[in-house]
Symmetry: C2
DNA sequence: CTATCAACATGACATCTGTCATAGGTTCCC
DNA sequence: GGGAACCTATGACAGATGTCATGTTGATAG
């Protein structure tokens, strides 16, 4: 055997983090150097240990997995990033690849695939869920403008038009216009449905 | 060593399922008999293997972890159930205990606690997150009636008053009355916020 | 330089939403 | 038999929401 593949883990859910570490540690050719619950700690650890592979979740406190990926590619380009996430959203995949990730694995794939994926990216290969990969081309992209997105997100959490107008220093009418635009772009029939649709597509 | 604790796993996310199995299998005194992705399969497996402990997620397809717990308590009372879930919701905990669970462990607890919890419940003990346990007494209970709950849930997914009235064969006015009641009971200022509050408390 | 697009605005209108008072019917319990 | 809770309903009102037409401004891509 040549040399162990050295891995750092970033995953905010403690139980999963520990279990993944156990899973990878079983493999004779993989060594887990450390596992961390947020992006910042993971970034530090990568700088220190310079592992072959960083396995990262997307949704994490402090620094998201996507931002973490970008930073690692910039500061430690020899470390390959494997994104491990719940979300089969073309939008996320595209952003992950743009940020420089070498792999994108879904949490509902069998656990055996993790070690395989780690080996593959450590070798310089790419691992992308085939179904998602095909979707990425056909996937519509987010039609919302920044303002529409922001307002729709907050409206979807229950903020009223008036509250939004006040806190963003807009007129009520303007807020309603943005929401109306968003609703029509998404083919929804009200703000609630619009927010749900956008969330589902990973646009909020 | 007396005898291994025999465990069946029910968890719908494949990666976590596999990783948990690996985690538990490392322990010399624990044996994982099988792991399943939905409640029905798990129930069958429990009937067949009669394990000391069933570790189950709550949100699963076909049969929820809560329903699974109730069925297992009824059909195989010698199997203890340990609920493993993301949600720190007193409402869920209460329902789990009512259904006969022996333990309620959160997925953001350290992974070491899992094996410890499995041992504890196999011994006949109870494992409940202490913070949650204290909350359960002070926790208000769901003030919604069945109708209010149903309508609020669907309204929260974007169904309009008219659609709800049609599909439930009610008048628009009646639907609005239920929503109005729910909104006021929850101290919200509109249906969206009401749905969010109720979901957060685990009432929907 | 100009066409386009995002951001913001106004006013008007129709419709939807939330509230309130009131009330008939059912089921269950004391 | 009388409450109590729940489900259902009506009508009326104020206020929130969604739509449309139209316009200004600034940035930016061609």
């Amino acid at each position: 055997m040549t040399q162990k593949v050295r891995v750092v883990l970033a995953e905010d859910q403690s139980m999963l983090r520990g279990a993944l570490a156990a899973l990878l540690s079983i493999e004779p050719d993989i060594e887990v150097l450390g596992s961390f619950s947020d992006g910042e700690q993971a970034l530090q650890a990568v700088g220190k240990h310079r592992p072959e592979v960083l396995v990262a979740d997307i949704e994490m406190p402090k620094m998201s997995g996507l931002e973490l990926t970008a930073r690692v590619r910039e500061l430690n380009p020899e470390t390959r990033v494997l994104i491990l996430t719940t979300f089969a959203r073309p939008g996320y995949l595209r952003r992950a690849l743009d940020a420089g990730a070498s792999g994108y694995l879904l949490k509902d794939r069998p656990s055996e695939e993790l070690a395989a994926a780690v080996r593959e990216v450590s070798r310089g290969g790419r691992v992308v869920d085939p179904q998602l990969a095909s979707q990425i081309w056909s996937a519509e992209k987010d039609p919302l403008t920044d303002r529409e997105r922001l307002i729709l997100r907050r409206a979807g959490d229950g903020e009223t038009t008036i509250e939004l107008a006040r806190s963003l220093r807009l007129t009520e009418g303007t807020v309603r216009n943005y929401l109306s635009e968003a609703i029509s772009k998404l083919g929804a029939s009200n703000r609630i449905e619009a927010a749900r649709i956008a969330r589902n597509k990973g646009w909020l």
